[in-house]
Structure formats: C-alpha cells, structure tokens
C-alpha cells in the first residue's frame, strides 16, 4: 500500500476514536459534568481531527472543524456559557463532523445545505474577537506514530508575563548516580505551568553516540509568581554538581522554540524519553490518542519535546477522572487475523472433543493421568477460546452513541422532546453482532420515538412530563446479551392493533388472541400501525424485518407493553456467533443439538401426562402447567407421527418470550460445547435448524432452532393460517 494511503487510513481510524471521545464528552456535559477538562477533551478531539484533515487537504472537514473548534474555544475560555441550546448545536455539529469524516473517508461529499446551516449557527455564536472563523491557517506539522496532530499548531498567544527561566544541562555523572531528568522536570511542573524545550544541538549522529554521555539539555519556562528561586533550587538539590543549572526570573523567552525530534537512540535519557512519546506510559490511564494535556497553550514545539509528558503531572486532579474512560494500551489488528484464529480455535474445540471421545472409547480408567491431562486440556481449550472470543468482543458504547444521534434526529423530525438514557454501555458483544445490530436497533429507536412516545400535548394531558424518555439498556443475562429499548409512551393500543390486523387480513375477525399474541402481531409482515405513514419510520421496513435481522444473529426479540406506561422491546443475543453450549440428543437415529440456553429441564415422558385430541395438538402437564408438546423427529419430517409414546424423553425449553415448549426426543446423550457451522455457506438455511456442528467422531449434527420449532405449531400461526 502507498505509505500515504496507510497514514490516511490510520487517520480515519484515529478519527473514529476522536469522534467517540467527542460524543462521550458532550454526553458527559449534558449529564451535568462541569469539569473544565471535559470541555478541553472535546476541544482536543475536534482540534486533532482538524489537524489531521489539514494534512490530507480535506478542506471541507478542516473548515467545519475549525469553526466548531472556535466556538468550543470560547466555551473553554469561559467566554461563553454552556446552555442547553448551545449543547444542541454542539451535538448537531458533532453529528455533522462525523458525517464529514465518513464522507471524506470514502471520498464522498456531504449535504452542503445542512452543513452550511450548522456553520452559520456556529458562526453566529462566535464573538467579534473570534471572527476569524472563515479563514483557516495551517502550519507544517510533524507526524508522529500515533498520528496525533493535536495541539501541534495553536492559535492562542504564547504565555506572556513574568516567569522563571531555567536552563538545565545534566552531566554524564547524573546518570551514574541514578538520577533521572524526567523526574526533575516533572517536579518542576508541579510548581506551576511549565514549558519545556529540549535542546538537541549537542546530539551527535546516531553512529557516534556514546550511550554513557549526556547530550541533551533543557530550557524550561516556569510560570508562577509564588514560586521562589529556593523552591526551584530544592528540586535540583540532589543533582547539584552533576549539571549546569541557571535560573533567572524575567520575561519568558519570546522566540518559539524550534521543533525537535525525539532523540531516538540518544544516551540513557534519550531512550527513556523516546519511550514516552510512543506510549504515554508514565500516565498509563491517559488516552493514547490524545497524549497532550490541559496546557493547550503550549507552543508547537512542546509537542515533540521529550519532556512533553512530564508537564502533565501538574494538571488538575480532575484529569485522572476524566481520562479514566480513555483507552488503555491497544493494538489494532486486522479482523481477518482474529477470524482465522477463531476458526482455528473452533477446530481445536472439535479436535479436543474427538480426542476425548477416542480416549474414553479406548477404555482408559477414569482416574488415570491421561484422563487428568485430558481434563486439563479441555479446560485450557475453553480458556483459550474465551480469550479469543474476548478479542472480538466490543463494548456496545459506540453503537449506543450512534443511537443518541438517531433519537435527536427522530425527535427533531416529530417535534417531540425526547431524552435517551443509556445504561450498560460497557457490555461487550461480538463485533459482528454489533455491526449487524445497528440497522434493527436504529429502526426500533425510531419507532420508539415516532410511535411509542405520544405528542408533547398528549403527554401533558396524561399528566406525564413533557419530555419523553427512551431507555436503552444492555446487560449480560444467563449467557446472553440482553438489549432493551423502553419508552415511557402510551403503550400499544391493542384495540387498534387488532383492528388493523383484521383489516389487513392477517387474522380472523373472531380469533381469540391473548394480549401477548396481539402485541406480537406487530412483528407480522405487512403490518404498520401508524395512521399516517410518516417520513420517519414508514420506510416500508416493518418490525418483521427487524425480527428477521435479529433472528439471523441467533437472537430473539420480544415486547411487553403496559397501556399508559410504555412499551419495552427486548432483544436477546448470543454472546458469540461461533460456539455454543449444547445438549446432544438423539432423534430418529440422528444426533441433534439443543442450545443449552433454551433448555429448562428434561423429563422422562409419562404417557399419562400427555393430553390432547390429536397428534398435532398435544400437550403435557408439567407441574400444573400445560405445555405444548412437539415431536422433533416428526416435526423435522424424519418419521410419521407416533401413535404411542413410550420410552421417550422430554426436553422442556423456554424461549425469550417466556413461552415454553416440550420437545420429544429419543434419548439424551451428552452436554458439550459445539462449534457453530453455518449451513448457508454451501447450502442454504433450513427452517427449524439454526446451524450445524461437527461432533467428536467427525459426524455432523444439526443444531435445532428451538423457537422456530416451537412456533411451528404456535396457536397464533394457526389462527393466521386459518384466516
């Protein structure tokens, strides 16, 4: 790849992180965070994007980022107050910025009209002294590894006023005594705001470097009227005699220091400082992409100066908190590589179970060392598998952040006032699941705002707060990921839903449906309750499509609704798409797998408990509850319906909606982890079958789609068929 392309790609990857930081910051402020550092973080994010965009001549992006940044700077300097109105502009600006980045990454352009509208809004906010919004200036900026362009160039005036000027040149002996200039510089920074310049003039060529020698010196400007010379002397107390030190009080050196490259391969201290540029290891919790800290008025060169990180120690204590959420040390890896690894782990799991089966068939006693070793092997395999899966797992946070934008847009389009409350953003889900969840979730959120919440006037009439709330929650529950979308609207109008269903011929006018069954009509193809197909959610995509999309991920979607209180949609997803815990059962001489998460209990079939008129309409009493009974072999067409049930076993299952179904199987064999292999690759999907897996003996076993098998005889579907 063209090296420039590569850097460009890195820039867009960085932008993703920065945009996320921007959204996080805005959300924090909206949530009542008054920490000035949060504003700084937002400013830095926008600034860094602008910097990077400048390097790639993405003029539109630069122009917009600059305007946005200018307004943010006003806020940062306390010249502008953060009002809700302003926040709204900021949110929209952030959305616009994200659009611009996305457009730039694919070489597209954005809706100019919308962008100009927001630009005008931003321009209007800028004071007369900040009226340079239109012009954009750029300086050459050094590229460092992390592609951080932030703060290299800055429009703010260099710090003026009186300050201490310290010149510090360590001798070689300083290292012999184990002193580290870094620590001294950091101690200085604790006295007050510092500006550190590294002087590398004395640095010889790489080939000539004697690592025992000291070749660097530093010029430090320390601001702070309260600092006395003694305070400074005290810091250097232990290195007196090991360095040249001059301290003077007066106007700061006005000349901007030149840009110095990090002294790679320099003696001892050079090596150490080089490290700090690559990874801000001194402050491990500091966001890697934004290594610079609140001292934004630092001149350009400070960025590249080795002592850059040290200055940060004088930062406000709030910093630690605000950067807590920032990424720790990370590695970007191509997804392909991870997927290859996951495939291999899949093979390993199969191989492990093959081995276990072969050994147990050979009649080795249970207490032999071989069996112990096998157990350990199994445990390790599982641990490795979990570890690798964790690589693919990502928090749902970015997804949720995108949803807050959807809510804003939907609210604006419907003229409702809506607040999105998110919870459990740290919940980790497989990357593929997150990607493929975006569309259905967007649709559901739009639905919640458009159909779920009432108009503001209606809310007021119902005695509710005018602002509607949509809760978006993610959590782990019994091995699955649960995502809930809850609105506090009017709830489902069941009478109306029923009318529509009858109107559209989906159900028989006389059909007796339970509340849950009526609610589930929403998932029927060709159903739309909105009286007027609105611009927002009436795009010909119904809840049936949402349901399909979620089912294709091995998930289920259910809903519950209370009139006047609101509607909650619950999506339940598997943690991973690759491996599941299954119960191996025998059905008509074939091995099948029932996902363990669906299994409630297993029972010995007692024919006296079976009730029902015909084979197709049988049920079984389980602890006083009547549960429909499905003969799996018959349902899958392996054998004709059995007249007499005898030695069979019943697997009682429960799907997300809480509906229970009892499945007749011939025998229960085992319980184990199986690797999911899609049937779609070389074949196509089969109703009633979720996927396939390979057993220890190399045979293929089909994984049952419990929900589909259960609904195969769902009363609702019978009603629909009859209509």
């Amino acid at each position: 790849m063209d090296p420039m392309d590569e850097i460009r790609q890195t820039f867009f990857l960085e932008c993703e992180d920065l945009l996320q930081a921007l959204m996080e910051g805005l959300a924090a402020i909206e949530g009542g965070d008054e920490d000035p550092e949060t504003v700084n973080a937002i400013f830095r994010a926008v600034h860094s994007i602008k910097g990077g965009a400048g390097a790639f001549s993405l003029d539109e992006l630069v122009k917009f980022a600059h305007t946005f940044e200018t307004v943010l700077d006003e806020v940062r300097a306390d010249r502008m107050e953060l009002t809700p109105a302003l926040m709204s502009v900021f949110f929209r600006s952030a959305d616009q910025l994200s659009d611009l980045v996305e457009a730039a990454s694919v070489g597209d352009s954005v809706d100019a009209e919308r962008m100009n509208a927001i630009m005008l809004e931003l321009d209007a906010l800028i004071d007369s002294d900040g009226s340079d919004a239109g012009e954009v200036e750029f300086e050459a900026i050094p590229l460092d590894f992390s592609m951080d362009f932030g703060d290299v160039e800055d429009d703010l005036p260099a710090p003026g006023g009186d300050s201490w000027t310290i010149s510090f040149k360590p001798h070689a002996t300083i290292f012999e005594r184990g002193n580290d200039p870094v620590l001294l510089l950091r101690a200085l920074a604790e006295l007050g705001e510092t500006e550190v310049t590294c002087n590398t003039d004395a640095l010889p060529d790489l080939a000539d470097i004697d690592t025992a020698q000291s070749c660097l010196s530093w010029d430090i400007t320390l601001k702070g009227e309260t600092v006395s010379e003694d305070d400074i002397r005290e810091i250097f107390e232990f290195v007196e005699g090991d360095c040249d030190l001059t301290i003077s009080f007066g106007a700061a050196a006005d000349a901007l220091p030149e840009i110095d490259l990090p002294p790679l391969g320099a003696p001892d201290e050079g090596e150490e400082t080089g490290w700090e540029l690559a990874t801000p290891s001194q402050d491990a919790d500091e966001p890697a992409a934004i290594p610079d800290l609140p001292e934004l008025q630092e001149p350009a060169a400070a960025e590249a100066a080795p002592a850059e990180t040290e200055k940060s120690s004088g930062a406000s204590p709030a910093r630690a908190e605000s950067s807590r959420a920032g990424p720790t040390a990370t590695v970007r890896v191509e997804l392909d590589r991870v997927d290859r690894l996951i495939n291999l782990i899949g093979e390993l799991v199969i191989n492990q179970s093959m081995l276990a089966q072969a050994v147990s068939n050979s009649g080795v006693p249970q207490d032999s060392p071989l069996m112990d070793g096998l157990d350990e092997f199994k445990r390790l395999t599982r641990a490795i598998q979990e570890g690798v899966m964790a690589i693919r797992a990502q928090p749902v946070k970015p997804l949720f952040q995108r949803m807050s934008r959807i809510v804003r847009e939907a609210a604006a389009a419907t003229g409702k006032s809506v607040r999105l409350v998110t919870e459990g953003e740290g919940t980790e889900v497989d990357k593929t699941v997150i990607e493929r969840l975006s569309d259905p979730l967007t649709h559901m959120i739009r639905n919640a705002v458009d159909h779920g919440l009432e108009q503001t006037a209606d809310r007021a009439a119902a005695g509710k707060s005018e602002e509607g709330t949509v809760h978006l929650t993610a959590s782990h529950r019994s091995g699955r990921v649960i995502i809930e979308i809850a609105d506090d609207g009017a709830g489902i109008n069941r009478t109306r839903v029923r009318e529509i269903a009858v109107e559209k011929g989906l159900i028989d006018p006389d059909a007796a449906l339970s509340e849950a069954e009526i609610d589930n009509l929403l998932f029927m193809p060709g159903f739309s309750t909105a009286k007027n197909v609105s611009n927002l959610s009436g795009r010909g995509v119904g809840m049936d499509v949402v349901k399909k999309a979620i089912q294709s991920l091995g998930g289920r979607v259910t809903l519950s609704s209370t009139p006047g209180k609101g509607t909650t949609f619950t999506i339940s997803l598997p943690l991973t798409l690759a491996i599941l815990d299954g119960m191996l059962v025998r059905v008509a001489d074939q091995t099948k797998v029932v996902p363990l998460t669906d299994v409630v209990e297993t029972l010995k079939l007692n024919p006296s408990q079976v009730h029902g008129l015909s084979n197709a309409d049988r049920g079984i009493m389980v602890r006083g509850e009547f549960v429909p009974l499905v003969d799996v072999a018959c349902e899958l067409g392996y054998r004709p319906p059995l007249d007499k049930l005898s030695h069979h076993v019943v697997v009682l299952t429960e799907t997300e909606g809480g509906s229970r179904t009892a499945f007749i199987v011939d025998q229960i064999l085992d319980q184990r982890q199986v690797v999911i292999k899609g049937l779609e690759e070389n074949y196509h999907s089969v109703p009633g079958i979720a996927a396939a897996t390979i057993l220890g003996n190399g045979e293929i076993a089909l994984i049952l789609d419990v929900a589909a098998l259960a609904t195969g005889r769902n009363r609702l579907s019978d009603v629909i068929r009859a209509a």
Binding site: N343, G346, Q590, K677, Y683, E699
Partner: protein
C-alpha cells in the same frame, strides 16, 4: 513436433468420467476439487429427495447431491465403490454421490455434440452436451444446474 501436439491440445479440455447406474457421465476436471470415499451424510429435514444430506469436509459443511436422484434415475444404496465427487460450483462446494469414477478424458471441443432433440427435458436441463465414444455415449454434466442447491420454493 512437440509444439504441434501442444497446439492441438489447446482445444482439448480434461474431464473426469464416472458411472451412475449403467450410464457414464463426465464433468470438467477444473471444477472437481477432490474425490472421496462414501461417508454416510447427516440428513437435512425437509430437503428435496436428491439431497442426501451434509458431511464434514475438513471442518466445512458439504451438502451431498444424489446424482441418480437428481437426473431422475433409480437410486442405489451406497456400496464399497460409491464415491463423492467434490465439485466447486461458483462459490459453493457441493458433493455428488456417484457409483464409481472411471477415467480422465481429454475431449476436444469439436467432439462434443449438443443434446439430441429427442432427449427428455431433464436431460437437456442438466447436461451441456454429449460425446460419443466406441463404448457408448457420455453426457457432459452442466454443474451449474446439477449442483444448484438454492431453496427451490423459497417464495412459497
């Protein structure tokens, strides 16, 4: 001399011929990935009759088509000589159950003839043409039709 031969061979393609019942067929060797012994497949519910099921091909799920059933010939129980011809059709790997593999043929384009008009519709549907040899007629399989495993009535 050698050059002349090469030139003549340019118009020849290689085919693998196989037996199903009393008849011989052949398929373009470039689409054959491997030939393997018979493995009892796992049946797929509600699959059409010509789909025997799926087998494990080194970790991949491989659907098996019963060639005889597919082209409307009597289906035989698999025996020791039954093999699976693993073929690649577009992106999909599909195995064909055949009675035995017999030979590798070099066929020139000229020697191939269209399916005679008297043949049944199914013959026309699944074959690209025929080659006549001393021993009899060999039909050339149109893999894109035979190995097509899309759901047939998805819309229903």
């Amino acid at each position: 001399m050698a050059e002349q031969q090469n030139q003549r061979r340019e118009h020849e393609d290689k085919f693998i011929s196989f037996w199903v019942g009393e008849q011989e067929f052949c398929v373009d060797i470039m689409s054959v990935k491997e030939i393997r012994g018979w493995t009892e497949p796992t049946r797929i519910p509600r699959a059409p009759d010509h789909i025997c099921g799926v087998i494990n091909l080194r970790g991949a799920i491989l659907p098996i088509i019963d060639f005889a059933a597919r082209v409307g010939m009597p289906v035989r129980e698999p025996d020791a000589s039954t093999v699976i011809v693993v073929t690649q059709n577009a992106d999909q790997l599909v195995g064909m159950k055949v009675d035995a593999v017999s030979d590798i043929l070099s066929l020139s384009t000229e020697s191939m003839q269209p399916i005679p008009d008297i043949a049944s519709e199914s013959a026309k549907e699944f074959f690209k043409g025929v080659v006549t040899r001393e021993e009899g007629m060999i039909r050339i399989v149109d893999l894109s039709r035979i190995a097509h495993v899309e759901p047939e009535n998805l819309a229903a």
